[in-house]
């Protein structure tokens, strides 16, 4: 039995989780690798292109690292656990005119719980992943997620939903490194081909990145049902016909197939009457948002109000805001206007590099 403990490492077969597993192995942890099969392209109605994490090559790459380094590796079929919740939520959100983060949903509700359940069944003390973020215990005893050292790769945004019992058992070995260090480590550890493997940013069950195609295949008759709705301006004037409200997202500029002689954007989506509101860049500017489903991380809540940096999408740099309660729940008032607050996306609040907590954006407003 190793002195450091036993850790179940989620291995996708990609460079990050492989290096994470090997790092822990080299540090003296007793590593058990696990690759979770979340999605079956053959039965999904999705594209057959297997670029995501659930393909045979990835299973083999993960297994190879385990066998060569002398630790066990298993493939775990969690399609049932994954399928209903994450995919139905994804579809429902688009049908509600919102823009979901399925990876956040999966981490929060499926992936970590699935891992921890298996970790318990295999007497593992910890679970670990290859996310670029860190976890430490703060002086208030709470376990805090903070940004990865490599700002360009930071993944703390997708971890806001993890509750304390999950965080207390999680190790994120990559948080203290830059991607280039990890690439070098992969080479040094004897896996130069991993460093060359292209990275996958797409959603695992939409490997071709065509979420519109996925929705059409997934929801019978959707296209016919929503085709021919109207693009309108903010006064309600009809500007032209669109392909159906679920196929647009707030802030979208490309692919609108309508020419108004100036750059135009989707500013709002109204599923109840299948209309999509278009406007100019200025119309996307808002300064307040209402957030639900909050999960508090660094503190167990805020007493009254608190200054924070809010990220409203994955690659957002973040903007200063004041976090406060009103009668409906948590709101964030930005000091300066921000662009494209998209309902359904995650809002994650930071104090410095630490995640205070996060939630789901209900709506943005412009309060003057």
């Amino acid at each position: 039995m190793s002195r450091k403990g036993k850790v179940l490492v989620a291995m996708s077969g990609g460079i990050d989780s492989t290096v994470a597993a090997l790092m822990l192995h080299n540090q003296g942890y007793e590593v058990v690798g696990i690759t979770m099969k979340t999605w079956d392209y053959a039965s999904s109605g999705s594209s057959s292109k297997e670029t995501g994490c659930c393909n045979l090559d990835s299973f083999n790459d993960a297994r190879q690292a385990a066998v060569q380094n002398g630790f066990p590796h298993f493939i775990l079929d969690i399609r049932e656990e994954f399928g209903d919740f994450v995919i139905e939520n994804f579809v429902d959100e688009y049908l509600a005119g919102r823009t979901p983060n399925p990876c956040v949903m999966c981490n929060t509700h499926i992936k970590w719980r699935a891992l921890l359940k298996r970790a318990d069944a295999m007497n593992c003390d910890f679970i670990a992943t290859g996310h670029y973020a860190s976890i430490r215990q703060h002086n208030n005893e709470r376990f805090v997620v903070s940004k990865g050292l490599d700002e360009t790769k930071d993944q703390s945004y997708v971890l806001w939903g993890l509750q304390q019992d999950l965080l207390s058992r999680t190790i994120l070995p990559l948080g203290k490194y830059h991607k280039k260090d990890i690439r070098q480590m992969a080479v040094d550890m004897g896996y130069p081909e991993l460093a060359k493997k292209s990275e996958s940013y797409e959603i695992c069950f939409v490997p071709d990145n065509n979420y519109r195609g996925f929705l059409k295949k997934r929801v019978n008759g959707l296209e016919e049902k929503v085709a021919g709705g109207w693009f309108i301006d903010k006064t309600g004037k009809k500007l032209g016909q669109h392909k159906g409200y679920p196929f647009y997202t707030v802030g979208q500029r490309k692919g609108l197939e309508i020419a108004l002689g100036k750059p135009i954007y989707v500013t709002a989506i109204h599923p109840e009457n299948n209309t999509v509101v278009l406007g100019e860049e200025d119309d996307l500017q808002q300064n307040d948002m209402y957030v639900t489903k909050m999960n508090w991380i660094k503190y167990d809540g805020i007493s009254d109000e608190m200054e924070a940096i809010a990220k409203i999408r994955y690659k957002d740099k973040g903007a200063l805001c004041n976090l406060y309660y009103d009668e409906k729940g948590i709101r964030a008032r930005f000091y300066e206007n921000v662009k494209s607050i998209a309902p359904g996306q995650s809002a994650v609040f930071y104090e410095g590099d630490d995640v205070i907590g996060g939630g789901i954006i209900q709506r943005g407003e412009l309060i003057v």
Partner: protein
Amino acid sequence: MSNRIYFDNAATTPLDKDVLDAMMPYLTNHFGNPSSIYSYGRESRLAIENARKKVAKILNAHPAEVFFTSGGTESSNTAITAAIRDLGCKHIITSSIEHHATLHTVEYLHHHNHIKLSYVKILPNGHIDLEDLENILSVSKEKCLVTLMHANNEIGNIIDIHAIGNICKKYNAIFHSDTVQTVGHFPFDLRNTPVHFITGAAHKFHGPKGVGMLYINENVKIKPFINGGSQERNMRAGTENLYGIVGFAKALEMATENHEKESTHIKDIKLYMKQALEKNIPNVSFNGDVLGNSLYTILNVSFPKTEKSEMLLFNLDINNICASGGSACTSGADAGSHVIRTINHHPNQVAVRFSFSKNNTKQEVDIVIEKLKELI
């Protein structure tokens, strides 16, 4: 990793040193193509035909009835497909607990060639309902192929190959039996067995992987499954797996010579483990006809399902114990077993197959029982 305990001998067995020694000359000096006319070729050809004679003699068949293939799956594919294509069968009768090599082949023929497909009833102890088989045969208006495995690879149940063969004979049906788990573990007397096709795989009895055999009774004439050269008496084209065939015959020879001693030893281990499980693990149960008509190498156990026992196979592996859930062909990503689903309707159980060889010991059983006590 030499402290591993290998209890998955129905999946495959380690190659015997003597078998490897018999093969080595054909991996080195005797490299000739068996179809070549010069000395190298003759030497190789001789090795193959001697292997065929040896296998035929052991099974009490004629050498012309023995064909070497790449393994059990190819053999079953060949037999089943040929029965439809060349022997006029239009109705396949099988069971839902066959190996996938059979099931997926008959499903394919059912879907693509519009062959009628019937599944014979399985009794709660995992045996074939012979009355049901006879009923299906008696009402069928077509010529039938009956394909039923000799020993089930997951639960070990053995069919009465003579009784089923005689029923088939009565209704003029073709009878194929997947005997992959029994060739090398069970004495055959094919001249006195009413069967048209049986199959074998060397790696199930300490021979090499990638070589198998198909017995085709001399009274049935089928066309080649793989077209090309005239190897294997025109039945299976392609340069022969020379060292594999030599290994097949040597392994079968050794298994036959030592059958009595080894089967007694293995059966002893199986019963010892069954008793130790009953004594030490609460609510354990066994799948199949464990003490009845059952292969001595296989013990299929159901443990009560808990969060921990669901990961039992993984935990056994972490503790250097090798066992399997379904057949090896399905256990890559744990999908459960179609055999266990058929015979046992307890969703609150986790089935594990332990299967033994001559190399196993009771001491190993003791170690596994101790680990199981911790892991359940």
